[in-house]
């Protein structure tokens, strides 16, 4: 980064770079956590504001991605800490997110639906590990749980996914 800019400007540029690099995936992560697009958009904005506040103290003990994911997950948890949230409809059938840019194969839709329907503790592990391609250690850091818990949850989640996919396998093949 150029030294012609003030430290403040550099910090903002750094934040912009983080938003460009991770904004979309953090927004999707928040959505998959909260299952509400409007809340997810609020959460991702909060995440970056918090990240900006903490940028100076970020010591690089984890990757920037892990660090941001952790802030995002904590922000989502904060949103959910209000018990009213538990009574917001999580099952509504109307899709509240924009349609995919390209048409999605039915089998891919099916996998997505199955992953999205996993219980939260498994879903977050699966998403961070397989989608965000984090290591067990990184997932553990983001979720603030032990590595072995992550491993256990992933094993359990794989079992659940396999059962669900087998159930729909033949229909997917047909389609």
């Amino acid at each position: 980064m150029s030294t012609n800019f003030s430290p403040d400007a550099q910090k903002e540029m750094h934040l912009e770079q983080l938003m460009n690099q991770y904004g979309d995936s953090l927004l999707r992560l928040c959505y998959l956590y909260l299952k509400d697009a409007a809340l997810a958009q609020d959460a991702v904005q909060d995440t970056f504001v918090k990240a900006w506040k903490k940028l100076d103290t970020f010591e690089g003990r984890s990757s920037e991605k892990t660090w941001l994911c952790r802030i995002a997950v904590n922000t989502c948890r904060d949103y959910r800490k209000n018990r009213w949230f538990r009574f917001v409809d999580m099952r509504r059938s109307i899709e509240d997110i924009p349609l995919p840019i390209q048409p999605v194969e039915p089998v891919v839709q099916e996998v997505y639906a199955i992953v999205k329907a996993l219980p939260e503790k498994y879903r977050m592990c699966v998403l961070l590990y397989y989608w965000q391609e984090m290591t067990l250690e990184e997932v553990a850091q983001v979720l603030d749980i032990s590595k072995s818990t992550v491993h256990h949850r992933l094993e359990k989640a794989k079992g659940l996914l396999k059962t669900e996919l087998e159930r729909s396998e033949m229909e997917c093949v047909r389609m």
């Binding site: 938003m19 209000n82 397989y130 087998e166």
Partner: protein
């Protein structure tokens, strides 16, 4: 299962969800606001040090009395939190708080210490909550209503919350005892909940009362009672508005075959809302409509409401203008709509504001004449909530509920299409397929009401995999549960083979095998061929350009390789003629 499938599935399905330029700009604006306040903080820093010292000295003195988690938070931590604008305590402040907590004999949870060690600073609210929990219990909703209210007020005083959402019931509100009695009676009656519900070894109880301040414009006070069965994890929820309208009675049991069960039917929800807010849905304000949307979405849909209009109304989410969801005033929107559909001043506007996404909000303004009780709708316009662009403008033609629904639904209403989940599948009894076919499916008595029972029976009788079920059973399951989409030019529908009309499965199989064996020796070893498996075939109607082009036996011949992977060779056999319509013979290995 290939693990990159998950990555692909998420990326593709959520490709329409991305952080817009405006959202990024919004973050940068928020930061500018933060900078202003942090500047103030800097100027106060010298004073702050002195104040902190005084507080810490005072706290030290208090330590001799040994405060509990609640009083410690109230008397030591909250005053510290009020001294700075930041949402977080610095590492030094956290260190000092933890030290003082220890002196008071408060056992700070290990996760707080670990978090502090790893991340340094700590969000004020998180730390205060953790400390209060040491005295009042882990779950805030299990605290007394007075404690919830106290905690909420403290957050407001510390600048960590905008308003108090958790309230203490007043003279005109239901009492806690009465609400618990009502909830418990319903849980016992509807779900057979038995025994002593106050037995903390069996149930964890949550009780809240207040206003959902996370949604702009909400004024209803609401009671929530929830029990968690500690044995099987089932959660029982009861929600009631402060006027006595029960909006939800449900059970959620994650491991059950049918995890979510509502004790309220569509008809009951509709009847209750009409009882409390008037028969005419058009007379309900947006807060009532929004509440109705949530209650309806969570009720039991197996028996649909007699009035199809209310189901249309329940498909739209109504948001009260306010907060960052609103980009223009109602007056501005009405002016734009009036101009768009050339509505003169004598016509009165009926306004709704709806949408789930802050970036995709809409105003719908319908213009009427007549009396308040007998509105004659004439014109309507839908305006983009953000840009003010006119999305639709037209002459009113439609049923009573048309002013309440998204204008893009208007076409669906006009064609009398109903929402699939409550109705028969699209194209049900289409003349494209024979009456005998439809009669055979209807004879299985499979529909929204019976499906759970049928799936259970058939899984028991024919196996878990639907491809092992008889063809009529597979077909009816597909129509009702696979949410089929019908491309204009090309699609497949599960069919039923008919003896005498179609070649048998065995004949078709032989045709596929004969063809396969012509090519196979060049592609596979003898050992591999010995592991050939013919998967249960499907039987489909292939529709091309609106006509049934063929009845097809669809075979998958699978060979397992030594490394556990498989190759698939596919055949479409014309069930009338035995002709091979498509073949794909391959030794390419996949994961099956």
């Amino acid at each position: 299962m290939r693990e990159d499938v998950i990555k692909i599935a998420v990326e593709q399905n959520l490709s329409g969800l991305y952080m817009t330029k405006e959202q990024k700009t919004n973050v940068l604006c928020l930061i500018q606001e933060e900078k202003t306040t942090s500047g103030l903080r800097f100027r106060f820093s010298a004073v702050l040090v002195a104040v902190l010292l005084l507080i810490l000295l005072a706290a030290g003195a208090v330590a001799a009395v040994l405060l509990g988690g609640k009083d410690f938070t109230k008397e030591v931590v909250a005053p510290m939190a009020q001294k700075t604008e930041s949402e977080a305590f610095t590492a030094e402040e956290v260190g000092e708080i933890l030290r003082l907590a220890e002196e008071n004999g408060i056992t700070v949870p290990q996760y707080v210490r670990e978090h502090w060690a790893r991340w340094g600073s700590e969000y004020k609210e998180e730390l205060m909550r953790a400390l209060v929990k040491t005295e009042l219990g882990f779950y805030p909703a299990s605290w007394s209503l007075e404690d919830q209210n106290w905690y909420n007020q403290m957050l407001v005083e510390c600048g960590l919350s905008d308003s108090v959402s958790n309230l203490v019931p007043g003279e005109n509100d239901f009492t806690e005892e009465k609400v618990l009695y009502m909830a418990n009676s319903l849980f016992r009656e509807k779900f057979g909940l038995d025994g002593d519900l106050t037995d903390e070894t069996k149930y964890r109880r949550f009780l809240t009362f207040g206003i959902d301040t996370t949604r702009p414009g909400i004024t209803f006070k609401q009671w929530c009672v929830e029990y968690e069965d500690l044995k099987n994890g089932a959660q029982y929820a009861f929600i009631m508005l402060d006027n006595g309208l029960v909006t939800r009675v449900s059970r959620y049991q994650p491991d059950a075959e049918n995890p979510y069960i509502s004790a309220l039917t569509e008809e009951e929800v509709v009847a209750s809302f009409r009882q409390y807010f008037g028969d005419s849905v058009l007379g309900w304000n947006m807060e009532v409509l929004e509440q109705f949307y949530h209650s309806f979405a969570m009720c039991d849909h197996t028996k649909q409401a007699a009035d199809p209009g209310v189901r249309h109304v329940a498909q739209t989410r109504y948001l009260m203008p306010g907060g960052h969801y609103t980009y223009m005033t109602e007056e501005e929107a009405v002016a734009l709509a009036r101009k768009a559909c050339k509505a003169d001043e004598s016509l009165q506007p009926y306004v709704i504001y709806f949408g789930d996404d802050p970036n995709n909000m809409h105003w719908k303004i319908s213009f009427w004449e007549g009396t308040e009780k007998n509105k004659q709708f004439r014109l309507y316009a839908q305006i983009d909530g953000k840009t003010g662009e006119t999305e639709y403008a037209g002459i009113y033609v439609g049923p009573w509920y048309e002013p309440l629904v998204n204008a893009s639904q208007h076409a669906a209403i006009a064609e009398d299409k109903t929402i699939r989940v409550y109705e028969k599948p699209a194209m049900w009894r289409s003349p494209l397929f024979s009456d005998a076919y439809w009669d055979a499916l209807e004879a299985l008595d499979y529909n929204a009401e019976t499906r759970e029972q049928r799936i259970e029976e058939w899984s028991r009788e024919y196996g878990e995999h639907t491809n092992l079920w008889p063809y009529a059973h597979q077909a009816v399951h597909w129509w009702w549960d696979m949410n089929p989409k019908f491309d204009v030019h090309n699609y497949w529908v599960p069919g039923i083979p008919v003896e005498g009309e179609h070649i048998s499965m065995e004949e078709a199989k032989q045709i596929a095998l004969n063809r396969f064996m012509e090519e196979a020796p060049a592609l596979f070893t003898q050992e591999e061929l010995a592991r050939l498996t013919v998967l249960p075939p499907s039987f489909d109607y292939h529709v091309i350009d609106g006509e049934v082009a063929a009845h097809v036996w669809y075979f998958d011949l699978q060979i397992e390789f030594d490394d556990g992977r498989y190759s698939d060779s596919l055949f479409h056999i014309d069930a009338h003629t035995g002709e091979i319509l498509m073949e794909d013979i391959s030794n390419a290995a996949g994961n099956g």
